[in-house]
Symmetry: C2
Subunit: 120 residues, 2 copies
């Protein structure tokens, strides 16, 4: 008898959870105004009944502090920037449930250029 | 004058950094035997001169505890399981620097089946 296989997550959503000490001039993805975004994302996924197949993951710094709060949706490699609760709602609805990335919320191309080649 | 664009990272390597309390029967990706793996990965990338274009990211639980330690390489959506320092060395050499994923270290297909559709 063949065992049923365990499906991979339909989406991973990697939310940068890096904060900076109060008063530090460098921007960060988590501050007093934005600290609820991860929970908002997780709760929205639960309310939509897709928490499980969609995994919300906390990460260390994703290296796009100036564009924060940011999160990366995989598969697809979609980096969203300048997040708010409203933007997260639309991303869940249109991209996660609907399969259509929200192009206008993606990080500006200026900050997401072609990757450098590491080829030997 | 056009500003030069900032390249996206060539690779993100998402290393699960979830630990469990001592004595807990559930497996986890970080324990006394495996707690050095993230630093080993970061140091290896530094030694190879690719830390920067390659970003090593710490994450919360990736949901494959039984297969841990695990890490996900993006873009490409390659989930590696049962990691060791030696496996990380080979993944950096062959996949990150050489562009050829290490197929034999990928998570078994049994645990990475076709994702469920969320389509409405």
């Amino acid at each position: 008898m063949q065992m049923p296989s365990m499906p991979q997550p339909t989406f991973y959503i990697f939310k940068c959870e890096q904060s900076a000490p109060p008063g530090m001039p460098k921007p960060s993805c988590v501050n007093q105004q934005t600290q609820e975004l991860f929970n908002h994302l997780a709760q929205t996924l639960m309310q939509k009944g897709v928490f499980g197949p969609v995994q919300a993951i906390r990460t260390s710094c994703l290296g796009r502090c100036q564009m924060g709060p940011v999160m990366l949706v995989e598969p697809g490699h979609y980096m969203y920037s300048h997040l708010s609760k409203e933007k997260i709602d639309k991303i869940v609805e249109q991209h996660i449930l609907g399969g259509e990335p929200v192009i206008e919320y993606l990080i500006p191309e200026q900050f997401w250029g072609e990757p450098v080649s590491l080829g030997k």
